[in-house]
Structures are given as structure tokens and as C-alpha cells.
């Protein structure tokens, strides 16, 4: 499909910074998006959450932009900005009116090269407080909010960096010193470990000159991340139960699965859609619609650089037995292994994916982040078509064989129960 064929230019500065430019003059907007190849998967047990805490520190000002000025400059220019941290990478992005491109490049380069002179203990303590509250708000004070980190802890061995959540543990977050944060920056925030995407309405020559002007002089330590771990396996199924302030029981069933954009990754995405992606999907229809034993059911393939996680989550209706939900879920998984899927189910699912690819092209900041993601995983930014072809290639036979290989393996079954109902 022609419109998914994204034209771009890619090159590397002598200091190792990768640059990807994509021109699109539909609207007078420009998106700047940087991926640093570091996330929580580069942490050690006992020192968790520093990648994410560091993301916060990147908004605390740099040598030439005082605290809060990063936000102020971009917002004054009518732009939007943020950052995010995952297992594998940290990204920073802004979208502005096209005439403010230079401002964004100045700010991004200042914190890439000149963050440390502006780093203070006061700023660190302040952001430790903010992140501690983020953890309280988004995890501890949310119903089922701690399920994800408990699940990771069961699924991955203790030394595997996917065994803790990206936000980190509270005690670790509180423990960080200026030396920790400085060391983290020196190790990982080198231009040689980053990729800059500029997408939108700009002139190519001018943009390249500005990138050279602002990023060219940033010294490099030559580091480029390479993280490698085997996908772990379980000897036997693990069943865990914990109590939370919730009204309804919920079960999480999880398997290790393939890494992002490899082998069975797309097939598992399709399977998750066939199981739970619509009213007619197999588990939704049976558990929520027909039998009404579940309030909700969802399935997802979450994949990163080191492993994937295939997960099914179901919440029991009041008075319904979680074991009954589990029995139905495994019955449908068995059914997939033996009988596969119908042609119509595959068409439904693939058409949905194709549409979502096209909708995703609407916003230039979203497109910029996609280019960075494809470059990260495929070393090829223009991979929308290749990505879509992964899904087109899934058929009845592959669904059956994937189901057989995964759903017969040991897994983690985590049940969250209302307070006072926890005895196993």
C-alpha cells in the first residue's frame, strides 16, 4: 500500500548519533523524537527504577535551560512534549509549529550534552518525591494496581531485568544519590546510544545544518546498548493469590513468548484479537456475553527486546468462581490448538489491523515515534509495510501450531481476591 511507504533520509553524525528525517508538509507542524537505547532492562535488582527516575531528571533543566524552562519554552511556542520509559528504551518528544524546530533541537541537544552542570540534589530529591507519588497514584492506590509487578516477579527469574516493573520499587527509588544519577547519564546518554527523528514540515538542508550545529559537538563515549538474555522458561505452572481492595476476583494467566517483531509475535497478536478483541471474539462472546461469568476479559501480546509476555486477564462477575473462568479459557485455548480459526475470523482481524495502521498515520508525532521504533527493532524506519505483512502472513496453520507450542507450556496464574479471601 502506497501510503504506508514512508520516505525518509537516514544518516549518522561522527559522534554516533543516528538521524532520521521524514518530510510531510500537510500541516505546518514538526515533531522531534529521540530514543535513547536504555530502559529498566539495564538496571540491576536492588537498583530498580533509575531509568524512569532519570527520565524525570531530563525535564529538570540543563546548562542553558533552567528548571522548568524546558516545559516553558516548548509550551510558549505552542508545542506539546513528554517522555516515556519502557523496559528497553526511553523516549523524549515534542511537537511544535514548524517555525520552532530550532528551539526543540536546541533544548534536546542541551540536555543530551549538558545536563550534568544543572543537576542538583534539590532537584533529585524533588523528583524522587514526584516519582514516589506517581507510584502511589498509578499502582498502589489503583485496584489490581500491583498485579503487573507481581506477575513479572513470578514469570522471570530474579536476575532477569524484566522481573521488576519499569517504575521500580519504592525503597530503590528513595535510595538514589547524585552519583547514581550522574553515573547513569554518563553510561547511557551518549549520542552514540540515541536516535533522533525529525518529522513534518521542514527544509532538509536547513534541518541537517541545525542538527549538526546543535548535536555535532556533543562528545560521545562510544557506547551503544546491546542487551541480550535468553527467553526464560518455567519448569512448572505457578499459582499465586493475593488480596487487594477490590470487589471482584480477577485472574491473570501469562506465558513467556517471542520477542518484539520476531517469529510468533504477530501470530500471538492475532490470537489475542481472536480470543478477546471484539464482541464476537471467542472468550468475550462466551464468558461475558453468553455465560455472563466474567465482567471483562482481555488478551495481549506484550513484547520487548528480551522477551514477550502473552497474557489473558479475566474478571469474575460477583459470586462466580474464578476456576470456572479458567476452565473456559483453557477450553478455548485447546479448541484453537485442535481446530484453528475460521477464514472469516482471520479476515475480520486483519482488516482491523490494516485500518488501525492507516489511522495511526494521522498525527506526525505518532509517526515520528513509529519511525524510531521500526529503526530500533528492524534497523529500517520505513517498515509499516513489512510490519503489516507479518500479520498478512498468519494463517490457520500458523495459529494452530503457535497455540500448540504456547498454550501447553507451564504458565503463571495470578489471582487477585477481595480482602479476607486470600487463603489458598
Amino acid at each position: 500500500m502506497n501510503l504506508l511507504n514512508i520516505k525518509y533520509e537516514k544518516y549518522k553524525l561522527p559522534n554516533g548519533l543516528e538521524v532520521i528525517l521524514h518530510q510531510n508538509k500537510n500541516l505546518p507542524l514538526v515533531a522531534v523524537n529521540i530514543w535513547y537505547k536504555v530502559g529498566s532492562a539495564y538496571e540491576k535488582r536492588g537498583k530498580t527504577g533509575i531509568a524512569h527516575l532519570f527520565e524525570h531528571m531530563m525535564f529538570q533543566g540543563s546548562e542553558n535551560a533552567a528548571k522548568e524552562m524546558h516545559f516553558r519554552f516548548i509550551q510558549e511556542a505552542g508545542g506539546t512534549l513528554n517522555g516515556s520509559t519502557t523496559f528497553d528504551r526511553t523516549n523524549y518528544y515534542e511537537k511544535l509549529p514548524a517555525n520552532f524546530l530550532e528551539l526543540a533541537l536546541w533544548l534536546e541537544s542541551d540536555r543530551m550534552g549538558f545536563l550534568l552542570p544543572a543537576l542538583t540534589l534539590e532537584k533529585l530529591d524533588n523528583q524522587k518525591g514526584v516519582v514516589a507519588n506517581e507510584r502511589l497514584e498509578r499502582y498502589e492506590n489503583q485496584p489490581y494496581g500491583l498485579a503487573w509487578e507481581k506477575l513479572l516477579g513470578c514469570l522471570f527469574p530474579e536476575n532477569h531485568p524484566y522481573s521488576w516493573p519499569t517504575i521500580g520499587y519504592l525503597d530503590d527509588i528513595k535510595s538514589y544519590t547524585l552519583e547514581d544519577v550522574t553515573g547513569f547519564f554518563k553510561n547511557y546518554y551518549s549520542p552514540s546510544n540515541a536516535c533522533l527523528v525529525v518529522a513534518g514540515d521542514f527544509e532538509s538542508v536547513q534541518c541537517k545544518d541545525l542538527i549538526e550545529k546543535y548535536f555535532g559537538g556533543i562528545p560521545s563515549n562510544g557506547y551503544s546498548s546491546k542487551n541480550s538474555f535468553e527467553i526464560p522458561s518455567l519448569d512448572k505452572t505457578i499459582q499465586v493469590k493475593y488480596e487487594d481492595n477490590v470487589q471482584l476476583e480477577r485472574i491473570y494467566i501469562a506465558w513467556h513468548s517471542d520477542k518484539a517483531y520476531t517469529n510468533d509475535d504477530a501470530g500471538l497478536d492475532i490470537i489475542s484479537d481472536i480470543l478477546c478483541g471484539s464482541k464476537n471474539s471467542r472468550l468475550y462472546k462466551k464468558l461475558v456475553y453468553e455465560k455472563e461469568i466474567a465482567q471483562d476479559v482481555s488478551a495481549m501480546q506484550i513484547s520487548g527486546e528480551l522477551s514477550g509476555i502473552f497474557m489473558i486477564i479475566a474478571t469474575a462477575k460477583p459470586g462466580k468462581d474464578i476456576d470456572e473462568l479458567k476452565k473456559e479459557i483453557f477450553y478455548e485455548l485447546q479448541n484453537l490448538q485442535e481446530n484453528g480459526v475460521t477464514a472469516r475470523e482471520l479476515v475480520r482481524c486483519k482488516n482491523g489491523i490494516k485500518s488501525s495502521f492507516i489511522y495511526s498515520l494521522q498525527q506526525i508525532d505518532n509517526l515520528a515515534d513509529h519511525l524510531n521504533a521500526y529503526n530500533f527493532y528492524f534497523s529500517e524506519p520505513n517498515s509499516f509495510i513489512k510490519d503489516l505483512e507479518r500479520y498478512e502472513g498468519v494463517n490457520n496453520d500458523s495459529v494452530k501450531s503457535i497455540s500448540k507450542r504456547y498454550f501447553t507450556k507451564p504458565n503463571v496464574q495470578l489471582t487477585v481476591v477481595p480482602q479476607g479471601k486470600g487463603s489458598l
Binding site: E68, E137, K317, P318
Partner: protein, 455 residues
């Protein structure tokens, strides 16, 4: 190359931005249509907005409009509920229905190549919904359980309680869209059918269409599929009684909660207020952005919270002013104190720099608000919902630019009402009672999950 990094780069020459052209027409049955043609991508989205949200729920039957919105796609025309959903899915199109206090929303998203078929399905939902009792019973059970789950969600509880307290129990905006456990038990499929026959009417609706379709093709489809949607009887407008809010602290107990959800505010004017732009600029300085006073204080100076915002929100017949944040239990009193200090401070005036910043930010952000079809559709929806003139966006920048510092200061004096501040805290009651018992912020009262005073 050596450069002087301390120099803040100047913008290049001013950008050229042209607003998309908004077309409007009215069908013979009174349906108003707002349309923007966009040719970047082969996609189309439609919003049908019908002015019969939950404020039209009869008083002991809260939750009726919402259940109506959940029922409208449970089978229509030739298809039962599952078949209908399948028909959309096979096209890669999506359909979604929802409800708020003022309106019912039916949304469709489709590739241009599937427009005709998607529109046909969409219209069968509007014109020929099935409304079977069996589907009704199941959807109602879904709401029952949703209401149960809400008891675990602190933000949701805080929102419902705040809304109830500032609007007062004789006002239809005081009741949650989902209704209550006991009120949804009073509903039946007959009520849903009655609601459809009475309230769901073209002369009470707007259709918003944005995307890659010509005006001729669109009007042909509208003519073909929607011209026999008949006008229903007149809606009976709900009555609104507005009492002045009083200073109070309302605590909703969440035993052992590690955080407190905080809401501070009062009822405020509806959207047609003449000082809308001054209010908006004032709020941008106070709490509308990351760099606003409240967030800088509570997050960046104190480290109390992940984020804090203030907001004027607008219903058709009312409005609210609300500061919201969540902080750990032990910092709750100090956080509330800081919020009230900021509210007092803004009434003493803003600085010219603050106003320049707010103005610059809002003016320059304007083009990026017309990037996706979804954004344009929601901009058009605002015109429809709030009955704004169709040239609203043409005049928007002039309206922002012309707000003076005196007007912003007046907006603060007039719209931030310290003697009406209703404080809602969802958190650990005993600890909160201890710290707030002797505060100067008003009487402390204990409330239930509906926002009713129990003690």
C-alpha cells in the same frame, strides 16, 4: 563548530495555517450536519450527537439514558447484536456509543472504501434498533457490576461526590450518568423503547462528518439513508435549581488508602458566559498547564504529587470549577492549604509575563488542534454541543489575543469563589479527620459514595 548555546533560538518566519472549511446544512427532518472534507488519508469519521443525555433521566430512574446508549447497538435492522458488531468488524470499521450528562454520542470510524456500507449499518442503528428484553437484562447486569467496581476507583468516587456536592440534590447534573444500584432496578426495556420514541430525534441532533468524502457523495448517502428518520415529540426540559455552594470539607472513607484524592471547587457558569476567554486564560495561568502555578507548587516545588490541575468544565446548562490532584495521606492537609493559597493569590492578579506566556501558548498551539480527523470532529462537536457560531474558530485567535490583563484579573475575582469552596477528600477517614478537624476551610462532613452527607 563552536556555538553559543546560551542563545535561545528565534523562530523562523511565521507559519501559514489555513483552517479547514466547515460546511453546514440541515436535512428536511431537522438534522443539522457539519462537514469537513480532508483528503490526506482514505478515512472518514462520523459523530452523531443527540441532546438527550442523563439530565433527562426521570429522578428515580437515574441511568436510563446511559442504558439506552448501551442498548442502541444491541441488534438493529437485519442483524442481532453479535451479527451487527461482526458486520462493522469485517470492514475494519468501528462503532461506539456513549452517554454523558447532556448528550448521547454514536461514533463511527471507517476507511473511505467502506463508507457506504458502514454508513448503512450506522443508519440501521439509528432507525431500526431491536431493543430486546434479553439484551436489556444482560446490559443492565453489566452496569450493576460496573457500579460495584466503581467502589474501588478513587478518581471516579471523587468525581461523583464532587459533582453531587456542587450541584445539589435538586439538580439533574448532581446524579451520575451510570445511575445507582437501586435506580437502574426501576428500569425496563419498555422505558428504553419509550426513551427512543420520545427523545431520540433528528431535530435534536447533529451529525459531524470529517474525512475523505465529497460533499456530493455525502449528501447522497444522507438523503438515501437518513431522510426517513422522523421527528419525535418535544423533549421535556429538566428543571434546574442552583443553590449557592458553601465552604465545606467532605470526606469519603477509603479505609487504609495510601493516597487521598483531592477535589476543590464549586459550581460555575455555563459555556455561553461572556468572559469565557478571560476565564480560560486565567485558568491557564492558575492550573491549566504543566507550568501553571498549582502544578509548579505542588509537584515541582513540594514534590507532593505526580500532577495537579485546575479546570473550568462546561455542561450545557451549568459548569464547574475544580482543582484536582492526589497526594499521600500525610501530605493532604498541606496540599489543600497550598491549593487554597494559590486560589487566594490568583485573585490578587497575574503578571504581564504570565499573561503573555498563556496567550502565546494558546495562539501558537492552535494549528496542532486541527491535525487529526478525530480532533477536527471533536472541535466541530464543541460547536454543536455548546451552540457556538460556525465562525467560532475563524474568530478564535482574535478572541484570545484581545483579552487584557484587567479582564483576566476580573475573571479571577468573579469566578474563583473562596467562600464557596467545596473540598472533597477520598481517603483514610480517621487520619484525615485528625488533620482537618481544626482547619479553617469549613465544616467537616462525612459523605457516602453518592456524595450524600451521612454525618
Amino acid at each position: 563548530m563552536s556555538i553559543d548555546r546560551s542563545k535561545i533560538p528565534h523562530p523562523f518566519q511565521e507559519i501559514k495555517f489555513t483552517l479547514p472549511e466547515i460546511k453546514n446544512f440541515i436535512l428536511s427532518n431537522g438534522l443539522k450536519v457539519l462537514f469537513v472534507q480532508r483528503e490526506f488519508l482514505p478515512i472518514i469519521r462520523m459523530n452523531l450527537i443527540t441532546g438527550c443525555g442523563s439530565i433527562f433521566d426521570p429522578i428515580i430512574k437515574n441511568g436510563l439514558a446511559n442504558l439506552f446508549s448501551m442498548m442502541i447497538d444491541e441488534g438493529a435492522g437485519d442483524y442481532n447484536a453479535l451479527e451487527l458488531s461482526e458486520e462493522f468488524d469485517i470492514l475494519g470499521s468501528s462503532f461506539n456509543a456513549s452517554c454523558n450528562h447532556d448528550n448521547i454520542f454514536l461514533l463511527v470510524r471507517t476507511l473511505s472504501e467502506n463508507f457506504e456500507r458502514s454508513f448503512e449499518l450506522f443508519c440501521s442503528i439509528i432507525l431500526k434498533p431491536h431493543f430486546n428484553d434479553q439484551d436489556f437484562q444482560r446490559e443492565r447486569r453489566k452496569v450493576e457490576v460496573k457500579l460495584l467496581q466503581q467502589k474501588d476507583e478513587p478518581e471516579e468516587l471523587a468525581y461523583i461526590a464532587f459533582n453531587h456536592i456542587v450541584h445539589g440534590k435538586n439538580n439533574p447534573y448532581a446524579f451520575p450518568v451510570l445511575g445507582y444500584e437501586e435506580s437502574i432496578q426501576k428500569l425496563s426495556i419498555d422505558e428504553i423503547i419509550k426513551f427512543y420514541n420520545k427523545n431520540f430525534s433528528p431535530d435534536n441532533s447533529y451529525l459531524i462528518v470529517v474525512g475523505n468524502i465529497s460533499e456530493a457523495d455525502l449528501t447522497a448517502s444522507l438523503e438515501n439513508y437518513l431522510s426517513n428518520w422522523r421527528i419525535k415529540s418535544d423533549l421535556i426540559k429538566p428543571k434546574f435549581e442552583f443553590a449557592k455552594n458553601r465552604k465545606s470539607i467532605s470526606i469519603l472513607n477509603k479505609e487504609g488508602a495510601v493516597q487521598t484524592e483531592i477535589r476543590v471547587g464549586h459550581r460555575s457558569s455555563s459555556r455561553n458566559t461572556p468572559d469565557y476567554f478571560s476565564k480560560t486564560m486565567m485558568n491557564s495561568i492558575l492550573g491549566g498547564q504543566f507550568t501553571s502555578r498549582i502544578n509548579l507548587n505542588l509537584r515541582e516545588a513540594k514534590g507532593f504529587t505526580y500532577g495537579a490541575t485546575s479546570n473550568f468544565s462546561y455542561y450545557i446548562n451549568s459548569g464547574e470549577f475544580c482543582v484536582s490532584t492526589s497526594v499521600s495521606t500525610e501530605n493532604t492537609l498541606e496540599a489543600v492549604t497550598e491549593i487554597l493559597n494559590e486560589l487566594e493569590n490568583i485573585k490578587t492578579g497575574v503578571t504581564p509575563d504570565e499573561l503573555d506566556f498563556a496567550r502565546s501558548s494558546m495562539v501558537r498551539k492552535f494549528p496542532s488542534q486541527f491535525e487529526s480527523d478525530d480532533q477536527i470532529a471533536s472541535n466541530l462537536s464543541l460547536l454543536a454541543i455548546q451552540n457556538l457560531p460556525y465562525d467560532y474558530y475563524d474568530k478564535y485567535l482574535d478572541n484570545i489575543k484581545s483579552v487584557s490583563i484587567e479582564e483576566v484579573n476580573q475573571a479571577a475575582v468573579k469566578n474563583i469563589k473562596l467562600d464557596e469552596m467545596s473540598i472533597v477528600l477520598v481517603g483514610d477517614k480517621n487520619k484525615l479527620l485528625n488533620s482537618f478537624a481544626s482547619s479553617r476551610f469549613g465544616d467537616v462532613q462525612i459523605i457516602n459514595e453518592k456524595g450524600e452527607i451521612v454525618q
